[in-house]
């Protein structure tokens, strides 16, 4: 063993820099894992430490409508300090700028949050807005309407001074504000008409107990009764678990993404070790000749690989610690708590072991060739090329597959997911390799014989023995694939929204219009020469019975697993005598009108919700329409195109039954530009403060902002793969340096100029980059097509300019890295190069 160690050290002389380069391709992958897992642990600790601030209280009641008296009686019996928060969407109007925007209102009465605080700028605003009868507002909203602290905001009929901007609120990550900016104000002075019938609002009652009662036990005692009243409950423990679960999923997903970088690094190691071993064949032959056993010679190179893995793992852990410092700023928007930096030894240990394991597994395949080197190569070097089939290789491939699956299972805690991940990874790598080989095969088959020497030589370099083409195409191709797919999907979704808002389609949605406001709102639109594309009545209702069984019975029957959100939810239904453009009848007959006194009413139900309710054509449904039960049966099933900007419904009643029920209206219109949209919204909010408006351009910008935040995180992780790809590229260029030097020198000796040698290399990297990015692009077009068709169910669009730009950029980068690492080879005289590289 001592001799093996000694020889491993001696043999590495002159190659240590090269060995360091091999392992550097592992460093980023390990770093990504260590950073994400450390961060995950720190985050769990932070969630545990700050658990009470996540809820902001010890216990909460939640309901979609005002709490019934019976619930308030239970609340009174609990005692403690209580605080009510009501959340709903409403237009926020800024008189100074005459601007209006849809906002998420949080009207608070009492001391919520009891734990943690509503962090604002200035700090005291979050504590005093109720006493000062003011509002604190999300910064994004202030920016959108160009308002500042000190201005006035009007919600409904009431105006409030803006006292500060929100930095962080309990129960919410900042990400929430991207969807809908928040406004905190005192409940006591809220315009009560905003909470009128039909308006959707969430009511939350918070408790703080000064005694040390067991809140979980208290909750268990009251929860069943509250559930009957459609009132939910939350405790610190539950909120903590929910956050932990969500955040754990987030960091597990990210670490699986980071693992791709490690796998790429592994491929880089495999490829570099392969070249390294090829260069050591004669040495191995001599050692075998001198009496070294196969075990000893293999041991020398296995020791070197282990050394590489150990150094790579350690370096990765250190870089991971540094990356961990960056992560909070990357993920900040998604986190409900402040995560502090801390060294997680378990994450570092895991990263180190995985880094070492991946290095060894991937190095093993090329290394086992050492065992089979014949001592004959010492006297006849041509014997080095003789290879035999290596049955151990399949065992190693098996270990690699097992390792990837084990990691995915370990990271996700789910065997099915682990297998799925391993299969997906292998499929992506397999497809990349396949496309890469296809491109190479095509080029070879249709090799441009008439090109000039430099171009032919550069292109042919891709097929030479010991080339790194496949590994580079895999790594650079994978990076391109990840980034480009993300980009293409983002573009596609955005253009889909743009299309939806296209010519003739509505782009302004006005809702919560009370029946007596309907004509007034319409006349404002008409005064501004805007069309009324649709005017729909909406009646809120809940299911009382399904197929003769009450909702309570279905809920109580836990064995069937039938009860779902579809049974529980509040339905907003309409009545009309026709289908709309976004609907398609798939079953039964659409019945448009019915006698008001009919015993049972035919309704049309959307196809997906049919599945959720486990019902079929002809089944009966009883609806509780604000206290009145209406019996119905499913007379038709509709398929609805939810992507169209239109009022779409799960359930459509025929005209004649609901006409007299309490209802509100939604009006759709189309504005020619943002200015007209803003003017109309301001005018409507001024007269009818409870009416809300959604501007499709606002949805577009909101979507863009949301996607940007998610994409940023995914890009950050994909960056590890891309950087690893380029390290692998740099490594491959350097390991093949010896071969290149010999060829360059030979070419020069035969009369090639420095310029020609340089050009040949440029052409080689040009094709390498071009093929790699084209491979990635081809797959990303396929991937985004599959996502468009199977996941988002929309027409596929490819922006050719974006794909072209990506190909140009990554190719240029490949050429730059290739030439940078080859510098010195092409511009040094043959003799000097030979001496230096010998």
């Amino acid at each position: 063993m001592a001799w093996i160690l000694k020889m491993a050290w001696r043999d590495s002389r002159g190659s240590r820099r090269r060995l360091l380069l091999f392992l550097s391709s592992m460093v980023l992958g390990v770093a990504a894992l260590v950073a994400i897992n450390s961060f995950g642990e720190n985050m769990e600790r932070a969630v545990d430490d700050q658990a009470r601030t996540l809820l902001g209280a010890d216990l909460s009641f939640e309901s979609d409508s005002a709490f019934p008296d019976s619930a308030l009686v239970i609340a009174d019996s609990l005692g403690g300090e209580q605080s009510l928060r009501v959340m709903f969407a409403s237009m926020a109007f800024f008189p100074k700028n005459q601007a209006a925007r849809l906002a998420s209102i949080r009207a608070v009465d009492g001391g919520f949050p009891f734990y943690g605080e509503l962090e604002t700028l200035p700090a005291e605003a979050g504590q005093t807005y109720q006493q000062r009868n003011g509002a604190v507002v999300d910064q994004s909203l202030l920016q959108q309407v160009d308002a500042t602290i000190g201005d006035t905001i009007r919600i409904g009929q009431n105006a409030y001074p803006i006292l500060g901007q929100i930095l962080q609120a309990p129960r919410e990550s900042e990400f929430v504000s991207t969807f809908s900016p928040r406004v905190y104000l005192p409940l006591a002075t809220l315009d009560s008409t905003l909470l009128s019938l039909g308006s959707r609002a969430e009511y939350e009652l918070y408790f703080k107990f000064d005694d040390d009662r067991d809140v979980e036990e208290t909750r268990a005692g009251i929860a069943p009764r509250l559930r009957e009243m459609e009132v939910g409950t939350d405790t610190v423990e539950e909120v903590k678990n929910n956050w932990n679960e969500g955040l754990t999923n987030l960091y597990r997903f990210l670490s699986l993404l980071g693992f791709i970088a490690l796998l790429l690094g592994g491929l880089g190691v495999a490829s570099a070790v392969h070249v390294y071993v090829q260069q050591r064949i004669e040495t191995v032959g001599v050692l075998r000749c001198l009496g070294a056993s196969a075990r000893k010679t293999f041991g020398i190179y296995l020791t070197q690989a282990t050394g590489m893995g150990v150094i790579g793992g350690l370096a990765g852990c250190l870089v991971g610690l540094a990356v961990q410092l960056v992560l909070p700023s990357v993920l900040d928007d998604f986190l409900p708590v402040d995560v502090e930096f801390g060294i997680s030894w378990s994450a570092m240990g895991l990263g180190f072991v995985i880094g070492l394991g991946v290095t060894l597994l991937f190095a093993l395949k090329p290394l086992i060739a050492v065992r089979r080197v014949s001592p004959l190569v010492a006297i006849r070097s041509s014997d080095a090329s003789r290879t035999s089939r290596e049955p151990l290789a399949w065992l190693i491939y098996g270990f690699v597959a097992l390792g990837i699956t084990a990691f995915a299972v370990l990271q996700s805690g789910d065997v099915g997911f682990g297998l799925g991940y391993a299969v997906s990874i292998l499929a992506v790598f397999g497809m990349l390799a396949l496309v890469a080989k296809l491109i190479i095969w095509l080029t070879r088959k249709y090799f441009p014989q008439r090109w000039t020497y430099v171009w032919r030589q550069g292109l042919a370099n891709l097929y030479r023995p010991n080339n790194q083409t496949l590994i580079l195409m895999l790594s650079v191709g994978l990076g391109t694939f990840l980034i480009l797919t993300l980009f293409l999907v983002q573009r596609m979704l955005l253009s889909q929204i743009n299309l939806s808002a296209g010519e003739g389609q509505p782009n302004l949605v006005l809702f919560d219009i009370q029946p007596d406001q309907r004509d007034g709102v319409k006349s404002i639109l008409e005064d501004n020469a805007l069309p009324i594309i649709d005017d729909v009545s909406i009646v809120t209702m809940r299911l009382a019975e399904v197929k003769g069984r009450t909702i309570d019975e279905i809920r109580a029957d836990t064995s069937s697993g039938e009860f779902s959100w579809a049974h529980r939810r509040e339905y907003r239904s309409t009545y009309r005598d026709r289908l709309t453009d976004s609907e398609e009848l798939t079953e039964g007959e659409f019945i448009g009108t019915v006698d008001p006194d009919a015993d049972i009413v035919p309704v049309s139900v959307e196809s997906d919700i049919m599945n959720d309710l486990s019902i079929a054509l002809g089944d009966t449904l009883v609806w509780n329409v604000q206290g009145v039960n209406i019996a119905t049966y499913v007379s038709s099933v509709r398929k609805v195109d939810w992507q169209q900007v239109a009022t779409n419904f799960f359930v459509v009643f025929p005209s004649g039954v609901l006409d007299g029920a309490p209802q509100f209206n939604v009006v759709l219109s189309r504005t020619p530009d943002d200015a007209t949209s803003a003017t109309v919204q301001s005018a409507i909010v001024a007269d009818y403060p409870n009416v809300s408006a959604i501007d499709v351009s606002l949805i577009l910008s909101t979507f863009e902002a949301v996607f940007d935040k998610i994409a940023f995180v995914i890009r950050f992780m994909a960056l590890f793969s891309i950087l690893t790809g380029f390290i692998v590229l740099a490594g491959a260029v350097i390991v093949s340096r010896f071969q290149r030097v010999s060829e360059s020198v030979l070419l020069k000796t035969l009369g090639a100029s420095k310029r020609q040698v340089f050009q040949i290399m440029t052409v080689e990297y040009l094709f390498l980059g071009l093929f790699a990015t084209m491979t990635g692009a081809v797959l990303s077009i396929g991937g985004s097509w599959a996502l468009a068709v199977f996941v988002f169910d929309m027409a596929y669009l490819t922006p050719p300019a974006s794909v072209f730009l990506a190909i140009v950029f990554v190719t240029a980068l490949t050429i730059a890295i290739g030439l940078l690492n080859s510098r010195g080879i092409y511009n040094r005289p043959p003799l000097e190069v030979l001496r230096a590289e010998a």
Partner: protein, 238 residues
């Protein structure tokens, strides 16, 4: 001459198969080499010289026939067992020196001794290097030495385990005339001093005539096995 040969080759045949074609490069070769004897194997290119050397030294397996080194039959041995025999009984000198480029001269010489666990390898390597005239170059790497110097290091390496037999494959093939002469003298001096048996494969008839015996190969067969003038009596063609 002792009764027991150091190298016994009997009925050695080597056939390579390429698809359905069989190519016999060595056909039924037999000879014995005795302790202290020096022997040259000569023949034109493709006559099977290097194949015979490889088989005789246990670097490869014959298609048929046997090889015994120091009375040990290599036939039933696996590659690692043969490696152990080589380490203990055989020394090598190659045409292209075959020094390990990442090891210094001294470390190169030490390798065979270290492989058998010899803890005195260092001083003995220096001693041998001094003997071949490179006592002041022990820390030099192969690239820092001339061809002749590299071959002298290879000779020191070949002798460090005091082998019973030294196989030399065109030992002067890559050297100029003056250096060749010096290396040849060194090989024969060391051979005499250590009492080692020498088997040398060469094209160089001058070198061959310095040995006791010349075995001529043609087309994979022994065409003559004769004592040279240096020898006392004619050898029998086996």
């Amino acid at each position: 001459m002792a009764d027991q040969p150091v190298l016994r080759v009997a009925g050695l045949t080597k056939t390579y198969r390429s698809g359905s074609r069989a190519l016999t490069v060595l056909n039924d070769v037999s000879f014995d080499v005795y302790p202290g004897e020096t022997c040259a194997i000569v023949g034109p290119s493709g006559s099977g010289k290097t194949t015979l050397l490889g088989l005789s030294a246990g670097l490869d397996r014959p298609s048929s026939g046997t090889v015994e080194i120091a009375g040990i039959d290599l036939g039933p041995m696996n590659e690692d067992e043969r490696a152990a025999v080589r380490n203990q009984h055989v020394g090598f000198v190659f045409q292209s020196f075959q020094l390990i480029p990442t090891l210094t001269a001294q470390e190169n010489v030490m390798v065979p001794a270290e492989l058998r666990g010899d803890r005195t390898a260092g001083p003995r390597a220096v001693e041998l290097l001094t003997q071949v005239g490179l006592g002041d170059r022990t820390d030099h790497y192969p690239t820092q030495l001339s061809g002749g110097e590299q071959q002298r290091v290879a000779l020191a390496r070949a002798f460090i385990n005091a082998p019973r037999i030294l196989f030399a494959d065109e030992p002067t093939g890559n050297l100029d005339a003056d250096t060749s002469a010096a290396v040849e003298n060194l090989i024969f001096d060391l051979n005499r001093t250590a009492g080692t048996t020498l088997v040398v494969v060469t094209h160089d008839l001058d070198l061959a005539h310095k040995t006791d015996r010349i075995i001529r190969l043609r087309g994979g067969e022994v065409v003559s096995d004769l004592r040279t003038e240096a020898a006392e009596e004619p050898a029998l063609v086996s």
